[in-house]
């Protein structure tokens, strides 16, 4: 039990494997992080990163392999032992309470400094100040967390994770996409914090989607693809392009070719050139600015399925909600009829033929306490109303026909509350709710997230059918395979605006991933670590000019 902790690697993973049913989440992964080393782990969604982290934190049990933290073997499936060995975790959702002071946030979990059972404010703040100083933050412990900048908030979460605990000194800090929701200007502050932590001899496992950060901060990189370790190399031996190749695979040209032969029909309705002269786009966005969007402009055509891709924070997750009016925005949204839509007015957007299925069904879309029938009916009650009264029979008939069309399980039970259906079936019901309006423009955020494979196929088929019937379908998704499977065109967002516009045969999962990740400063990686990622996105600029505004 007296392992030489200072010499032993902070983390040593050997032969780690994990399967979920038939799918391989991790296959024979090795990973070693020395004390004071910042080690980046990269991979696309589903590559196994989160499984790895969950095994380290004691959430999952691996099928094979060993993990040692600071030389001590980690018993699996037990968060407490992971903590005891010195592993600390900061998740993307920081787990801070915004409304209370930094001090209290730090003390939650570890406990307050007390005197005679009463919180000793003086000693608590002293301790908090020390915790904050450890990560190089000079924040007033009395300030409420909500008033801090995003990077500082992440810093507070790190400070909390690194709190001194004599029984379990910190050996390893795992950061899961800490910069995903940080504005570019804030990233450098976080980098300083991380440098300080690693400088104190703590090993840092750093998960990110932003490649430029890796060159700034990480000494070594491990790339995962489909649960397998593709490479572990020193960052200095890589450049940006080479890293992207590792991530998405090198056979881009081959992928191109495949896509063309598989789906030749994609070329046809691609939109830009071969469109009927003078016809307005079904929906056009001009200079939309909101949350992570910064002057986003694009046109969407009737009869086409357009995908929107991008890493979290690129604007992908914001654009459709902003266009529909779910959130506020500035900029202009215009329909085919030439109507300018007011911001924050979903009802007006609906009146002009838009439909919007938000991400996070439970929070934003489903009304779980109402029945499936009532959820389906809600998008338009007019057909069921006669003489000021709702008539149940036509409503039931409509719901039943959609249940059949989308093969909702259990069949026919339209009067059950929505909460008694499974996730996939709930999503089918949400689709029914919007499709029955036959929208001219159907915007969907993460339409198949958390949906089983069978339901996914049904939902995709419905979208293809709706597009064939003349609707403009726009799908924003973090699942590049989904986009590649059904989209005729994919707009890739970076830094809040379109950076690439893939059409027809150019659409493939690899091409989308590549564009998502290429991002900032491909030539001079790491040269300007702190500043704004250079938004030199050539295609992004030309997008606006190419398309004459509809009028």
């Amino acid at each position: 039990m007296t392992a030489p902790a200072d010499i032993a690697p902070a983390l040593a993973v050997t032969g780690l494997s994990k399967r979920f049913g038939a799918s391989v989440a991790l296959q024979d992964v090795d990973l070693a992080i020395g004390p004071g080393e910042v080690h980046a782990v990269l991979g696309e969604n589903g590559s196994g990163k989160s499984t790895l982290i969950k095994i380290l934190s004691g959430f999952h049990q691996p099928d094979a392999g060993t993990v040692a933290v600071a030389g001590q073997p980690l018993p699996f499936g037990n968060p407490a032992s992971s903590y005891r060995l010195g592993a600390r975790f900061v998740h993307q959702d920081l787990g801070l309470v915004d409304s209370i002071p930094v001090l209290d946030n730090l003390a939650i979990g570890a406990g307050f400094a007390t005197r005679l059972g009463t919180i000793s404010t003086r000693r608590s703040s002293e301790r908090a100040r020390k915790d904050l100083a450890r990560v190089g933050l000079a924040v007033d412990p009395g300030a409420s967390v909500g008033s801090l900048s995003p990077a500082t908030r992440t810093g507070v979460a790190i400070a909390r994770a690194l709190r001194e605990d004599p029984g379990a000194p910190v050996r390893l800090l795992v950061l899961d996409e800490p910069t995903a929701t940080l504005p570019a200007t804030e990233v450098e502050r976080l980098m300083q914090i991380i440098r300080r932590v690693s400088g104190a001899g703590v090993g840092v496992l750093y998960v990110t989607h932003r490649l430029d950060e890796i060159f700034t901060i990480a000494g070594n990189v491990t790339v995962l693809r489909d649960g397998r370790e593709v490479a572990t190399v020193p960052t200095s031996s890589l450049d940006h392009r080479r890293l992207v190749d590792l991530l998405v695979g090198e056979e881009l040209a081959v992928a191109h070719h495949e896509a063309e032969t598989l789906q030749p029909e994609r070329e046809r309705p691609s939109g830009l050139e071969g469109r009927p002269g003078g016809e307005r786009p079904a929906l056009s966005l001009r200079g939309i600015t909101a949350a992570s969007l910064d002057g986003f402009s694009a046109d969407f055509r009737a009869g086409q399925i357009t995908g929107i891709a991008g890493i979290t924070g690129s604007g992908r997750e914001t654009v459709l909600g902003a266009a529909f009016g779910a959130t506020g925005r500035t900029g202009e949204v215009m329909t085919a009829g030439g109507v300018r839509l007011a911001p924050s007015r979903p009802d007006l957007a609906m009146r002009h033929g838009l439909a919007y299925l938000p991400a996070d069904r439970v929070r934003n879309a489903a009304i779980l306490s109402l029945s499936a029938r009532e959820n389906i009916a809600l998008s338009s009650l007019r057909p069921f109303r006669r003489f000021g009264t709702m008539w149940r029979r036509p409503e039931r008939r409509t719901a039943l026909s959609w249940f059949e069309r989308l093969s909702v399980r259990p069949p026919g039970l339209v009067d059950l509350p929505l909460e008694s259906f499974s996730g996939g079936n709930q999503q089918k019901i949400m689709f029914a709710k919007w499709l029955r309006r036959e929208p001219a423009v159907f915007l969907l955020d993460e339409p198949t997230q958390g949906v089983d494979v069978g339901a996914k196929a049904v939902l995709h088929a419905q979208l293809v059918q709706a597009a064939a019937a003349g609707a403009a379908i726009v799908i924003s998704s973090s699942d590049v395979d989904e986009l590649a499977a059904i989209c005729q065109r994919v707009i890739v967002c970076r830094d809040g605006r379109p950076a690439a516009d893939l059409l027809g045969g150019e659409v493939s999962a690899r091409a989308i991933s590549r564009e998502c990740l290429l991002g900032s400063a491909p030539a001079t990686s790491g040269a300007s670590p702190g500043g704004f990622p250079a938004t030199a996105s050539p295609t992004g600029g030309s997008l606006d000019q190419e398309r004459s505004p509809g009028t």
């Binding site: 529909f324 779910a326 979903p346 009802d347 609906m350 009146r351 919007y356 938000p358 996070d360 069904r361 439970v362 929070r363 934003n364 879309a365 489903a366 009304i367 779980l368 306490s369 109402l370 009532e374 009916a377 809600l378 998008s379 009650l381 109303r385 000021g388 009264t389 709702m390 259990p410 039970l413 059950l416 509350p417 909460e419 008694s420 259906f421 499974s422 996730g423 996939g424 709930q426 709710k433 958390g450 949906v451 089983d452």
Partner: protein, 368 residues
């Protein structure tokens, strides 16, 4: 299993109120057959509980939209005092006086709506404040002395006129219940209100004018509370203090009602059922013993037991179905929500059986 079973065999949970009612009748019928098993019992329970039932109906509608209206007791009280003063001191004819009292209810509801929807104050706080203000107005109007009841015989017979042995007020309750039921269950407005209360964000993103419906529901509750006040004044004479004591029973009925007939949803007939089941129990108990505290004890215990049962049932039902949806909704609902911008949020996704609001609502109503 639950998903495919259309409904549980005997409906022990949906109809538990009816079973309980039958049980009360059985017990008290055996215990005190000569006093309890009479038409007189039926008539007196029906008329004595009429005002409580009206206030229960008044709160069901805002609860359906997810907003608490704690001002209904005070509104009813002010309306009762005003309708009496206008007639006995200002010598207004009966109908204009009634119209004026109802208008006060409409006005209070409108102001409540403004504060909640436009100023985005949490409904719980807004209507609690409003209840206090209305109480102050009542003191100003009445000079803090109990007004004389109007002397005209039509005034008393407005509610006490007998039909088949029932006081007329019982039939007013039935009429208001029918209208509320039709409104909530059979009109688009009602559907939008349930959607708003079920998930305000989702409702807004479905094109529902969430704020407007919340506002309308508060006008409804204010108006019905005004009506309840008028009828109370006619039935029992104007009292300066009856309103506050009726607030808890109204919410008890609404929450109990949400476990009945259409479990998981505030509903009209469940509320009416709850009022009369509780009243029957209290009436029976009072025949057996004259202890003063039994009424309150009975109401309070019944509310907590019934709602705990409903929460347990709901959690069990929720634990069973469906992968792919962990318990996201629970934390969001735990707090009644000053942060919940739009409206007061009596409930997150389904009637607010969980979390604190139900419990908290008891406090303001218990003012002596």
């Amino acid at each position: 299993m639950r998903i495919t079973g259309k409904r549980p065999g005997f409906g022990f949970d949906r109809f538990s109120g009816l079973y309980l009612w039958a049980l009360f009748i059985l017990i008290f019928g055996i215990w005190e057959p000569h006093l309890f098993l009479t038409l007189g019992t039926v008539h007196s329970i029906a008329s004595e509980q009429a005002v409580a039932a009206l206030l229960g109906l008044a709160v069901v509608v805002p609860l359906a939209t997810g907003a608490f209206d704690l001002s209904i007791g005070a509104t009813a009280n002010l309306s009762a005092v005003v309708v009496a003063i206008l007639q006995s001191q200002q010598h207004w004819p009966m109908w204009p006086a009634i119209a004026a009292a109802l208008l006060i209810g409409v006005l209070i509801g409108t102001v409540n709506g403004f504060i909640i929807v436009r100023l985005q104050v949490n409904a719980f706080i807004a209507t609690l404040g409003m209840a206090t203000i209305v109480g102050a107005v009542e003191t100003i109007v009445s000079g803090n002395s109990q007004p004389q009841p109007p002397t005209s015989s039509t005034w008393a017979s407005l509610t006490q006129f007998q039909i088949l042995g029932f006081q007329a007020i019982f039939f007013y309750v039935i009429i208001v219940a029918l209208i509320s039921w039709w409104f909530l269950e059979r009109t688009p407005a009602g559907r939008y209100m349930y959607a708003t209360g079920g998930n305000g964000v989702a409702a807004r993103l479905s094109g529902v004018r969430v704020g407007g419906w919340t506002w309308l529901s508060l006008i409804f509750s204010g108006t019905v509370a005004g009506l309840a006040g008028v009828l109370f004044s006619s039935q029992s004479g104007p009292s300066l203090t009856f309103g506050a004591a009726l607030l808890l029973p109204a919410y008890a009925a609404a929450f109990l009602g949400s476990t009945q007939l259409r479990p998981g949803r505030f509903n009209v007939w469940g509320t009416v059922l709850a009022v009369f089941v509780l009243a029957t129990g209290v009436y029976g108990v009072q025949l057996i013993t004259s202890a003063q505290w039994l009424n309150d004890m009975f109401n309070g215990v019944a509310l907590i037991v019934a709602v705990s049962f409903a929460v347990w049932r709901q959690r069990r039902a929720r634990a069973e179905p469906a992968p792919a949806q962990p318990a996201e909704s629970a934390p969001a609902r735990a707090d009644p929500g000053p942060g919940d911008g739009h409206h007061g949020s009596a409930n997150g996704q389904s009637p607010g059986l969980r979390g604190s609001p139900a419990g908290d609502s008891a406090a303001p109503g218990r003012a002596p």
